[in-house]
């Protein structure tokens, strides 16, 4: 049984997701959260997968994803976004998310994505080569190896070991990279 935590600031989305996920065999919605604080509090319901809206009031899904992962190392996070699917892929990987899904995707794709991340696999949209190139041009040369490792799925400890960096420094550099790469929604 996959326990899902739904985080979305719109009641219609929460209700819709709840109704769809509840009816699916093998899945149960263990908590609904409207913002970051509620989501963090809901971690005590022991969810397996957190379905996190990117566009939350007061906080973006990337930042929340990082907080959730700190709170519960086992928790899988699927970012759910109505915009910038492609632009979101790289920052989402950096933030340790397990997948990115378009809000326009039909229920079948959503359920499949939840099952995939619950299994321990990841669901990311193809990143267009152009985006990678533009992303690269924005990032300092010495950060590229770090970015490459994280994008390949290495965790922070592995990075600090391989690159001979203090964990704190890895954290700070990831923060900076995320600031550079996050899509802005006006």
């Amino acid at each position: 049984m996959i326990r899902v935590l739904v985080v979305d600031d719109h009641p219609a989305m929460r209700t819709g997701l709840n109704s769809v996920l509840r009816r699916e065999p093998g899945m149960v919605v263990c908590a609904l959260a409207a913002d970051g604080a509620e989501a963090i509090a809901a971690v005590e319901h022991d969810p397996d997968v957190a379905l996190v809206d990117y566009h939350l009031a007061g906080e973006d899904g990337i930042a929340l994803c990082q907080r959730l992962k700190k709170q519960d190392l086992e928790l899988r996070v699927l970012l759910y976004s109505a915009h910038a699917r492609q632009g979101l892929a790289l920052p989402a990987r950096l933030a340790g998310a397990d997948g990115v899904l378009d809000k326009g995707a039909p229920a079948h794709d959503l359920l499949e994505a939840i099952r995939t991340v619950a299994r321990g696999d990841s669901v990311f949209p193809e990143t267009a080569p152009e985006l990678v190139r533009v992303g690269r041009s924005r990032i300092a040369e010495h950060d590229l190896p770090l970015l490459g490792m994280l994008a390949d799925g290495a965790n922070r400890d592995e990075v600090s070991l391989v690159m001979h960096m203090q964990p704190g420094e890895v954290e700070a550099r990831v923060e900076r990279l995320l600031e550079m790469l996050k899509p802005r929604i006006g």
Partner: protein, 363 residues
């Protein structure tokens, strides 16, 4: 008004004793220039006319033969246009030139240095000399202040409009669009989706919801774009004209007549607009050249200036530049900024993006 005062003084003043012809010339000149300015509006903005006006008025003083001429006030009115029309330094310069001209004229008409010894005369002479300075500088400052207020008023009303559009866009996005997504999700989870009559109806409804979402995306992009102008070149020209008016730095815009429209145009426009703003604000150029061309399905938008070039520490992570890069990325394009650090060779910002991405909805 200067003419009226001069005429009255000529008639009633006892100090000066002028002939009728002189009075006639003064009145005719005053009326003539007033009429000329009223008929040809361009005249009042022409520095050659200011020069002529000031010189003629001083010549009238000279012809009157006395520095305490009743035409003095008429001559002062010649200062109004140059002091108020241009930038402050020009008003101050015109004023200074006038004061020097007046001093010269006064010397020519013969200042009786002996009588100047008496305090009232000395005071009168220095008042005659300093009045144009005070008047001109005061007017120039006031005119500058008024222009500044005017610019601020335009800017704040633009900002208010922009804020309102953003608020509407946010509301649409944060609520209406989420409801569409929710309805689409729930509907797509129904069993039998795609089979039988009910399945057909569901498929139709799903299609409609997808179209509604796409239409909302394009409305959102329009709301976030500028003042309803839908072609890229049109929007860029409007922005360039406003920037030019606000800064006085000429901005040339050329495009190859391809009227690009579509929701993605908004992003291209903001990139070009930001580049133009940066150029006039930070580079101190003598002019900015913008060109928009389309070839082989790619839009190329170039903003070039001849200013000081990029700062040594280019702020790549500043909000402005980041937003430009992000927009270029959303369009699936690339953005290049070139310029020698403080090399004085100017800066070039070049956006290359597929035309298709401008036409499609690109959030």
């Amino acid at each position: 008004m200067g003419t009226a005062v001069a005429a009255l003084l000529l008639i009633f003043h006892e100090v000066t004793d002028q002939d009728g012809l002189y009075a006639l010339v003064v009145v005719a000149y005053g009326a003539g220039t007033a009429a000329g300015v009223a008929i040809r509006r361009g005249l009042s903005a022409n520095p050659a006319f200011w020069l002529f006006d000031g010189a003629f008025a001083l010549a009238l003083v000279l012809a009157g033969g006395n520095w305490r001429s009743p035409v003095y006030l008429l001559a002062l009115t010649a200062l109004i246009l140059p002091a108020t029309a241009g930038p402050r330094w020009r008003g101050v310069a015109a004023t200074g030139a006038f004061a020097v001209g007046y001093l010269t004229v006064a010397l020519f008409t013969g200042v009786d240095w002996n009588t100047l010894d008496t305090t009232p005369r000395l005071e009168s002479f220095s008042a005659h000399l300093s009045l144009p300075l005070l008047l001109g500088i005061g007017l120039a400052y006031m005119a500058e202040l008024l222009r500044h207020l005017d610019r601020e008023r335009v800017r704040s009303s633009e900002l208010a409009l922009e804020a309102e559009r953003r608020r509407l866009a946010r509301e649409l996005h944060d609520s209406a669009k989420q409801r569409i997504h929710a309805a689409h999700l729930v509907l797509s989870s129904l069993p039998g989706n795609g089979t039988g009559p009910a399945g057909d109806a569901i498929a139709l409804a799903l299609g409609e919801l997808e179209s509604a979402g796409a239409e909302m995306d394009s409305s959102l992009a329009n709301l976030r774009s500028v003042s309803g102008e839908t072609t890229l070149a049109g929007a860029v020209r409007i922005r360039a004209a406003r920037l030019e008016a606000a800064t006085g730095i000429p901005i040339e815009v050329s495009d190859d007549e391809t009227s690009l429209t579509g929701s993605g145009v908004n992003h291209a426009f903001h990139i070009v607009s930001e580049a133009m703003t940066n150029a006039v604000r930070h580079a101190g150029p003598s002019k900015v050249v913008v060109s928009l061309t389309v070839s082989a399905g790619m839009l190329s938008a170039v903003v070039e200036d001849d200013g000081i070039g990029l700062p040594r520490e280019t702020p790549w992570d500043s909000q402005g530049i980041r937003s430009m890069l992000e927009r270029a990325e959303f369009l699936g394009g690339s953005l290049a900024v070139t310029g020698e650090p403080s090399g004085g060779q100017g800066t070039q910002v070049r956006l290359v993006a597929p035309v298709d991405s401008l036409l499609e909805q690109a959030q």
